[in-house]
């Protein structure tokens, strides 16, 4: 698309002549070019095309027989527009619409949580009728109605602007929140009064222009003049959505989007919005040392000195690799830099991500796509067993939008994910077959050839062989390869179970290093990229054998918990039981604290100050609203610990960042002061090197006879904060998805309580039946139970 030639049109609005790009909606043109506000309620461009429902924006257009909605009208050349400011007729219409809107709207602003932040209240003050001519009883409804444990609905306040339902159907595409009935009886509702089940549901509370949809947690909590809004960035996943945290009396009462269009488009997922590390009094608030009676509080300096001494001793006594520092991709860059320096000094092993493959993702940096590339993509391919939204919340919304805007969406995987229903291509594969699928595509693209295609893929097999290995239909693979080969701006999104070599191979043949598309692997940790960029790379899985072999005698977990979050939970537990010195830095007691000799407090989201690097490499500032529960920020005590070890670690986040900028290439050119509230993407694409070749992917694991293969990726709604947030209980409620054919064979119907048994235990959930899930597999929303590919059985309870 060439941006050089933009057609413009010239029109007058209330006598002011303006020139705007062709196609600009009149409401936008009036506000942005003529400085004239045309009031709106239903208009919200992020929800798709305008619908012209509320009629608040009616204006007079010279020559038109009747008033026109300024939101649905595009500016035309020579148009003469009169808004309510200069047109009697438009003014009268505006009064009329407000009067109609207020007919049944209760006048309860003083007790409404929206009061003071309410567009309807504001517009009524500005333009509204002084008194109502409505003498009949107002419409009443049962209220407040919980739409979910997180959201309440007051139908009396609803003005039916359809923002919430459009979000549900046209942005999140979950179709959970709808309007039912029609005419004056229309109401917003969910199906059969069930809770809104969608991980983006909270956005409707921000979209609602009145106090009809409100977050339960914020009801009656605060008035607008009592609060402080702190601009920060969500650390729930690697997307890094920009947020406001609303602070009142030392509590974060609410999280709102801060709309950084290039990152989040103003959306948040419910994890970022509602999950809280609460209650604060259950948090680990002081250092704890294991004594005879278990973990006992200790003085900071004592604990840190002991820790320093013991780590130094282990390292000195057993040499390189005797100590390990394990992180979970959730530290700030500055905190991570401190731990990286300590680890380097101790010649420690490091690991920052559950799987090793992630450690090598830098190899494809030459092709790394910015999030914005999804918007303009003409083809988007999602590869992996996991749904993109489970890895990187709002990225899923971007993928959906790209599809609505005409991109060819292809999903490959074992099926049962939410994106398949409307994808142009769905190629069903075995579980954990991403590598084989990528290799098959790489060779098929090379064979298809095309303007952008490099045809020198080094085959690891034929397309037929690789497709068969993946369990995919060859014809579909070839067809998708053809689509990709022709695409100008393809984007590959990789969720899991993929080796970097295969991504590299496909990216190379597609020439993604030189084109407009790219690859976007979705990390597990919110700052996995940042941690790697400061030297904490590696997979937990790689440490485990060394730990089991006794080669590691001291291990520090900083925000990492393989006992809870890894498929090899039991092996970790057994190995740790034999490890001499285990230190755990965590917000709450967790899977690894049970085996720790020393436990230290970990700061969480709203307590931290620093920077994180999101999945596209954007460095953004996290600002604290609260002091850490321990009173001592992690970065400060890390610096203190370093002092005991004679290592230089900067304890001030700003200085630490500027040091990073001076020393680490990933941060070159950035400065603490220069990051700004909406950070730009500063990233240089390294030159691509030809890949070494496509190694033969390993065959997916076969199930034991009579058993199903388990698919157990980690869902978005997981982690310590989610687990502690009562209002998210319905979103993490366990379910078990089985294929239609397997369900029929097993006599299981939707909604049954079923039990999944596997080597690592059993798991009970509600049955979901999918017609797309690969028969012979079972998908659960629970990770860490057993690895994907493990054999399992499913039975009705």
């Amino acid at each position: 698309m060439s941006a050089t030639q933009i057609d413009t049109v010239t029109l007058t609005v209330d006598g002011r002549e303006i020139t705007v790009p062709k196609g600009t909606p009149l409401v936008v043109a009036a506000a942005e070019h003529a400085g004239i506000e045309i009031p709106i309620f239903c208009y919200e461009p992020r929800l798709g095309p305008p619908i012209g429902a509320c009629r608040m924006c009616l204006v007079e257009i010279e020559g038109a027989p009747k008033l026109q909605a300024a939101c649905t009208l595009s500016c035309g050349d020579g148009m003469v527009v009169r808004t309510a400011g200069t047109s009697e007729q438009a003014k009268e219409a505006q009064d009329a619409v407000l009067e109609f809107m207020l007919l049944n709207h209760p006048l309860d602003c003083p007790v409404c949580d929206k009061g003071g932040e309410c567009p309807l209240q504001d517009l009524t003050f500005k333009y509204g009728p002084g008194n109502s001519r409505m003498t009949l009883p107002k419409r009443t409804y049962e209220k407040p109605l919980p739409i979910s444990p997180s959201i309440v609905l007051d139908r009396e306040r609803c003005i039916l602007c359809y923002r919430c339902t459009r979000f549900s159907s046209d942005v999140a595409e979950d179709g959970e929140l709808v309007a039912r009935e029609r005419g004056a009886a229309s109401v917003i509702a969910t199906f059969d009064e069930r809770p809104y089940d969608g991980v983006f549901s909270g956005n409707v509370t921000e979209l609602c222009p009145v106090g009809a949809l409100l977050p339960t947690a914020y009801r009656f909590k605060a008035r607008p003049w009592e609060i402080v809004n702190v601009p920060t960035v969500c650390t729930g996943c690697a997307t890094g959505c920009n947020t406001w945290s609303t602070l009142r009396e030392n509590r974060v009462e609410r999280i709102l989007s801060r709309n950084h269009a290039a990152v989040d488009e103003g959306w948040l997922c419910d994890k970022g919005r509602f999950a809280r590390y609460e209650p604060r009094d259950e948090r680990i608030a002081t250092p704890l040392v294991r004594g005879v009676a278990g973990l006992e509080p200790a003085e900071w300096d004592d604990a840190l000195r002991t820790m320093g001494q013991r780590l130094r001793h282990q390292s000195a006594a057993f040499g390189e690799g005797a100590v390990a520092v394990v992180t979970g991709g959730n530290l700030t860059n500055e905190e991570a830099a401190g731990w990286s320096a300590i680890a380097a000094d101790l010649k420690a092993r490091v690991a920052s991500a559950p799987i090793a493959a992630a450690a090598e993702w830098e190899r494809i940096d030459a092709c790394l796509a910015p999030l914005a590339a999804i918007d303009t993509a003409d083809a988007v391919v999602v590869i992996g067993d996991q749904e993109p939204g489970d890895r990187a919340g709002t990225v899923e919304l971007r993928i959906r939008k790209a599809r609505r805007d005409g991109a060819h969406l292809a999903i490959t995987g074992p099926g049962g994910s939410g994106l398949e229903a409307d994808a142009a291509t769905f190629i069903r594969t075995h579980p954990a077959a991403g590598s084989a699928m990528l290799a098959a595509l790489a060779i098929a693209v090379a064979e298809a050839g095309g303007e952008h295609v490099r045809s020198d893929a080094k085959p690891a097999g034929s397309v037929e062989e690789l497709a068969a290995l993946a369990g995919a239909d060859v014809a579909q693979v070839r067809e998708l390869a053809g689509t990709l080969a022709r695409a100008e701006r393809p984007v590959l999104i990789v969720t899991d179970h993929v080796a970097v070599a295969e991504i590299e191979a496909l990216a190379w043949v597609l020439g993604l290093d030189r084109g407009a598309g790219g690859v976007l692997p979705l990390p597990v940790g919110a700052n996995e990229r940042g941690e790697r960029a400061v030297g904490l790379a590696g997979g937990w899985d790689e440490l485990l054998p060394a730990l089991e072999a006794g080669e590691i005698s001291a291990i520090v977990f900083v925000g990492a918990d393989p006992v809870l979050d890894s498929a090899d939970s039991e092996r970790w537990q057994m190995a740790l039981a034999q490890t001499e010195f285990v230190v755990v830095v965590a917000p709450f007691t967790n899977g690894v604290t049970a085996q720790a000799q020393l436990v230290l407090p970990l700061d969480v989201d709203h307590e931290r100050e620093g920077t994180i690097m999101n999945l596209e490499g954007r460095v953004q500032r996290v600002r604290p609203s609260l002091a850490p529960v321990s009173g001592v920020p992690l970065i400060a005590w890390t610096s203190r610990l370093a002092g005991f070890l004679d290592v230089q670690v900067q304890g001030n986040p700003g200085k630490a960042f500027d040091q990073l900028a001076a020393t680490r290439p990933a941060f070159a050119g950035l400065s603490w002061k220069g990051l700004g509230e909406r950070a730009d993407l500063h990233r240089e694409r390294p030159a691509a090197a030809a890949p070494v070749g496509v190694p033969a992917p390993t065959a997916p694991i076969a199930a034991e006879p009579g058993a199903l293969r388990l698919i157990a990726p980690r869902p978005l709604m997981s982690g310590a904060a989610v687990a502690r947030t009562e209002s998210l209980a319905h979103q993490r409620a366990p379910w078990v998805m089985i294929a239609h054919a397997d369900a029929q064979a097993g006599g299981i119907t939707r909604g049954d309580e079923v039990v999944v048994r596997h080597a690592a235990g059993e798991h009970i959930g509600t049955a979901r039946i999918s017609r797309r899930l690969l028969p012979g597999t079972v998908r659960i929303n629970w990770s860490g139970a057993a690895g994907t590919g493990a054999s399992a059985t499913v039975e009705a309870q």
């Binding site: 159907s169 179709g175 959970e176 709808v178 039912r180 009935e181 029609r182 509702a189 199906f191 229903a421």
Partner: protein
């Protein structure tokens, strides 16, 4: 039964380039199978169309011909719009109410017959119009009420299994 419905829905989908367009026929089939659009029926439609059940509810509740509450075995609908009202639909309805001992909209005590009034059925010149199980009876007279109800009371609606 739900497999038959699934297959019927797939046949409807085949008539359109987009599966969403089959929602009205799908809902109609489901209503025939279940007698009314219970949550279970709507979920079966959702399954057949690969759409969220709430969307099926949103669509179903928009239209007058879909029942989101159980109804009797027979449904008697009296047009009470202008043309029919001008020529006596109101008196006709009163007679139905008296005979069935129920106020419209409502269902007779024995669960056999649901009576309701509807908007113009498009038989205005041949009115008053009464629609009985979706079949029009035109030029309907007060004297026709009792015999009609007699007939309905003694017959079940054919071809449908009420769930």
């Amino acid at each position: 039964m739900s497999d038959t419905l699934y297959d019927e829905i797939q046949r409807e989908i085949a008539k359109y380039p987009d599966r969403r367009s089959a929602i009205l026929p799908a809902l109609r089939h489901a209503q025939e199978h279940y007698g009314w659009l219970s949550p279970e029926a709507l979920e079966a439609v959702a399954d057949g169309l690969d759409l969220p059940p709430a969307r099926c509810l949103a669509v179903a509740s928009f239209y007058d011909m879909f029942f989101l509450q159980p109804v009797g075995e027979h449904v008697v609908e009296v047009c009470t719009n202008l043309s029919c009202a001008l020529i006596g639909a109101d008196r006709l309805l009163r007679e139905f109410e008296r005979e069935l001992d129920v106020k419209a909209p409502g269902t007779s005590e024995d669960g056999k017959i649901t009576l309701r009034c509807v908007e113009c059925l498009g038989g205005c010149g041949w009115g008053p119009v009464v629609s009985v199980d979706e079949e029009y009876e035109e030029h309907f007279k007060i004297e026709d009420v009792a015999p009609l109800l007699e007939r309905l009371r003694s017959t079940s609606r054919p071809s449908e299994s009420h769930a």
